[in-house]
Amino acid sequence: MSQLVGEPVHTAAVAGNWRQSKPATWLSSREFAGARPHVLLFMLIALGALLLLSLALGSASIPFDQIVTILLNGEADQPAWTHIVLKFRLPKTLTAMFAGMALGVSGLLMQTYFRNPLAEPFVLGVSAGASLGVALVVLTAGAAGGALLAGLGLAGDLLMTVAAGLGAAMTMLLVLLVAVRIQSSVSLLILGLMFGYLVAAMVSLLLYFALPERIQAYINWTFGSFSGVTNKQLPVLAGIVLAGLLLSAALCKPLNALLLGEDYARSLGANLKRTRIGIVVAIALLVSAVTAFCGPIAFIGIAVPHLCRGLLASADHRLLLPGTCLAGACVALCASLLAELPGNNLVLPLNVVTALMGAPVVMLVVLRGARGWL
């Protein structure tokens, strides 16, 4: 046993103390020994490169210098190029980025809160709620008039977005009502799953009685896509996602405490009820928005947090949150690029690409970092 020295007296005002220590010394403190915060920088560089790639590549080949010109608000040699980049590629690229950020971060929140490496953003039933909204619109539209959806065109897309958003929001509202009342995270998890099953059963019922061609429209929605968001809708998506990310950032500290379990987190002063509600609201914002605009995009939410823990070698949410944000955006952009390989007009379903591409990568990271992993 070492000689006990006198206990330091902590008298300085608590808030504001951190201002004295510079960020550089903060990340290099012993707390983060063994972690690799510099990986965040690589992720940022990768994100920049992928954003440019996503703007530069597509079924029409546009010279790179022209892309830069267009982005710098200049006129391209061909007016069509400007149109393609600004009206199609830019919204798609930014949508992929925001969706990736939202899914990566919400996966992290779920995995930490439920202390379960298999938890993902959709465990609380969001995607089921959204799919019910879409199914109601797509499958019952027939009753209102045969060619409603086909005739509405873009307005039909908007209708589906609104329906998905409403469905997701309603489900999350129900989960939130439950979260306010119950204390156990396991109960919340089970109730969320049950909500999901209930709603999925209703969707199946609708599908069972629907016309085959309507079912196809519904199935197309379940494939997921970053291309459906227009420049006008983009600020809505971006705004909601940013609000969700800010809320998540405020949850970093209780999430770190939750790494020790709920009893210890409470004893460390974490307000668990407020944390639980904060998490559900953040998930509701992030996942509802993405599901409404892009469909139920699987895989990113469950895989990105594992990827980040492996790459950053840390369980600290102050590193993992920006990490999942950047890595989520990178993964989504990669998937979006691979789904529409340049040089041909073939477009693969997004959900196919995320899983086909991502699963092997995550397997590799998990196996390489098997020591001290899951």
Binding site: E7, H10, S21, E31, A33, R266, L268, G269, R309
Partner: protein, 336 residues
């Protein structure tokens, strides 16, 4: 600053049930925890030790009465205010992945740090002090996943220390540890109570250790809780009564519980020293009643340097033995 850190007033603990009436484990509890004292909470399984600790920690509502922390009612404190006054250590040590010992102890600064949990230079100083106080300097930079239960528990205690709360409640912190680690942990707690001026309440099943290291014991039984210095509780029979069970009794001389020997054939044991003490245990284990009065069977001990020799007189026949095992075998064969 008063030394009184925690007191209960007519506290009743247990579980509320909707229909069948409450389960009341103990009531009319008027207990006190002083700063600088290590208090051991002892009691049989299921008597309500954990419930009491949870109630004192604000994790569970009392059925009646109040818990006062430095004079303030526990139920009026926010989670944060409570964390400033009280810290806990539980039986099971969490095993968060990809975290080092230092980061674990640093979590103890959460009640004092900003919204992101960033550590000020003062915080770092306190974390380093806490790690040093439990003697875990060599563990601080290691990943928790590579540490043993005992090492992690040490760090959990350092974390509670870094929280700088007057009161520390520990729920069987040594249950999963081996004997040397248990002794070490209790000594550490005793030392911390004094040097860091903490009021420490630790529940344990380790009677012997509690008797040796605690300043005070709370003995919990169905009848309630009796408190006092360990030695007083031994002498007035309180300790024996708390763990009262058929065929087990508390031996005030050795300070430990012994199995009541079944009344077997009587053996007279002559001699003294370690060897005789252990032969006595062997005979009792084998079902004999040992006495110093005359008996049909007589064992005499001769010590011959390092070697021990036993002379056995059995129904008039004498035999010499060099090991306890051989004495027992001779007795057993005669009994048949």
């Amino acid at each position: 600053m008063t030394a009184l850190a925690l007191e209960t007033r007519d506290l009743a603990i247990g579980y509320r049930r909707r229909s069948k009436g409450d389960i009341r484990l103990a009531h009319e509890l008027n207990l006190q925890l002083q700063r600088g004292k290590l208090v051991g909470l002892l009691g049989a399984n299921g008597v309500g030790k954990s419930t009491l600790l949870r109630t004192l920690a604000g994790r569970q509502k009392p059925l009646a009465g109040r818990v006062l922390l430095a004079g303030q009612d526990l139920s009026t404190l926010s989670p944060l205010a409570l964390a400033h006054r009280l810290s806990i250590v539980l039986t099971q040590t969490p095993q968060p992945r990809l975290m080092n010992g230092y980061a674990l102890v640093a979590l103890g600064r959460h009640p004092h740090s900003d919204w992101l949990g960033r550590l000020s230079p003062e915080d770092h100083e306190i974390v380093a002090w806490a790690i040093d106080a439990v003697g875990a300097d060599d563990l601080a930079d290691q990943p928790l996943a590579e540490l043993s239960d005992g090492q992690r528990q040490k760090l959990m205690i350092a974390r509670a220390l870094a929280q700088q709360s007057d009161i520390m409640l520990l729920d069987e912190p040594t249950a999963y540890l081996d004997l040397p680690r248990r002794v070490e942990t209790m000594q550490l707690l005793k030392q911390l109570a004094r040097s860091a001026e903490r009021a420490i309440l630790v529940s344990t099943h380790d009677l012997d250790l509690a008797l040796r290291s605690c300043d005070q014991l709370w003995l919990m039984s169905d009848a309630g809780i009796i408190t006092g210095a360990p030695e007083d509780l031994v002498l007035d029979g309180g300790l024996g009564a708390t763990f009262d069970a058929a065929s087990i009794s508390f031996d005030k001389v050795t300070g430990s519980f012994v199995l009541d020997p079944p009344a077997g054939p009587r053996v007279r044991l002559i001699g003294e020293g370690e060897a005789v003490l252990w032969l006595r245990r062997a005979l009792e284990r084998a079902g004999f009643t040992v006495s110093s009065a005359a008996a049909d069977v007589e064992v005499t001990h001769h010590s011959n340097g390092a070697d021990s020799n036993w002379d056995l007189r059995l129904n008039g026949r004498a035999s010499a033995h060099s090991t306890i095992q051989s004495v027992l075998e001779a007795l057993e064969s005669e009994r048949k």
